[in-house]
């Protein structure tokens, strides 16, 4: 069993344990699947592999737990989708994913107080989306959870803006994590 890690450009290179399988004008990057039940450590190891690949070129990370029998099956998994995947690779080129989660800083309060907080969180989201190449709101237990596709050069500016927004809204708690591979932008929407 091998696990698919990411889709890269046709010339994407990989060093062990990652293998590069060319198919339909893209490269499927994969590795031998770990045996048995997954642990949190396995996930971080996988994340580290994908992040190292990210340093070499644009990447579409594959959803966790995508297994195929062998390299032929890995090639078949993207056959016929090359053009679409190359377009997606262009979309994420030179950019990383930053996650932004916003919660009330203190007790949530009554409905009216929460409505004001949600509006402030959405305004903060818009301000950050203006710096990003692409943004998507995701379902989650927080007041607001979003993923932003941010150009590497704009990362400092983005994080600076997060700090400014946090400073301007002491009633909100804003958490920004990354840089991540473009997990939320790998599929066309």
């Amino acid at each position: 069993m091998i696990e698919l890690l990411a889709i890269g450009e046709p010339d994407a290179a990989a060093e062990p344990p990652v293998r590069a399988v060319p198919s339909d004008g893209v490269t499927v990057l994969c590795a031998e699947a770990p045996e048995g039940e997954r642990t949190a450590d396995d996930l971080w190891r996988r994340e580290a592999l994908v992040e190292r690949l990210l340093e070499t070129g644009p990447l579409l990370p594959v959803r966790l737990g995508t297994f195929v029998a062998d390299e032929d099956a890995a090639a078949a998994a993207v056959a016929g989708r090359g053009a679409e995947l190359r377009e997606r690779l262009e979309h994420v080129r030179g950019a990383v994913e930053l996650s932004v989660r916003i919660q009330p800083a203190g007790e949530p309060g009554d409905l009216r107080a929460r409505a004001t907080l949600l509006a402030a969180a959405e305004a903060a989201h818009e301000a950050l989306a203006a710096i990003a190449r692409d943004s998507v709101e995701r379902p989650g237990p927080e007041l607001l959870r979003a993923a932003h596709l941010v150009e590497r050069d704009a990362m400092d500016r983005f994080v600076g803006r997060v700090r400014e927004l946090q400073h301007a809204h002491p009633d909100l708690a804003i958490l920004c994590t990354g840089p991540w591979p473009a997990y939320s932008f790998a599929e066309a929407r």
Partner: protein, 112 residues
């Protein structure tokens, strides 16, 4: 791996919303013959919880747009509190924790 680029000094507000990775990995809807009622209750309550969160979010947007009277807001507030209490009671009857009311939708992420 340290991935926090910017965040409040106190991460408390996010603690309730994030669970240990191991818990998320082992989460399953329980469909054993003995526990089928609990498994079904978990599924149904998850859907109800989703609707509750959607309704609440919609309500927050309407309140913020200023189209509701104080009286309406007051009534909505009590309704949500009552709903919250009813959900907690049902959960306890079936021995479910708040974090059990969620589903992993694969590529779509977590339901709630």
């Amino acid at each position: 791996m340290d991935k926090i680029l910017a965040g409040p000094a106190d991460l408390g507000p996010f603690a309730a919303a994030s669970e240990p990775l191991g818990d998320a990995l082992s989460r399953r809807i329980n469909a054993d013959p003995e526990n089928v009622a609990q498994g079904l209750a978990q599924l149904v309550l998850t859907i109800v919880e989703l609707l509750r969160q959607l309704m609440e979010r919609q309500a927050l947007r309407r309140i913020d747009s200023g189209t509701l009277t104080d009286d309406q807001i007051e009534r909505m507030g009590s309704t949500f509190m009552e709903l919250d209490r009813a959900m907690t009671e049902l959960r306890e009857q079936f021995g479910l924790e708040a974090e059990d009311l969620n589903l992993d939708l694969g590529p779509l992420g977590r339901l709630l």
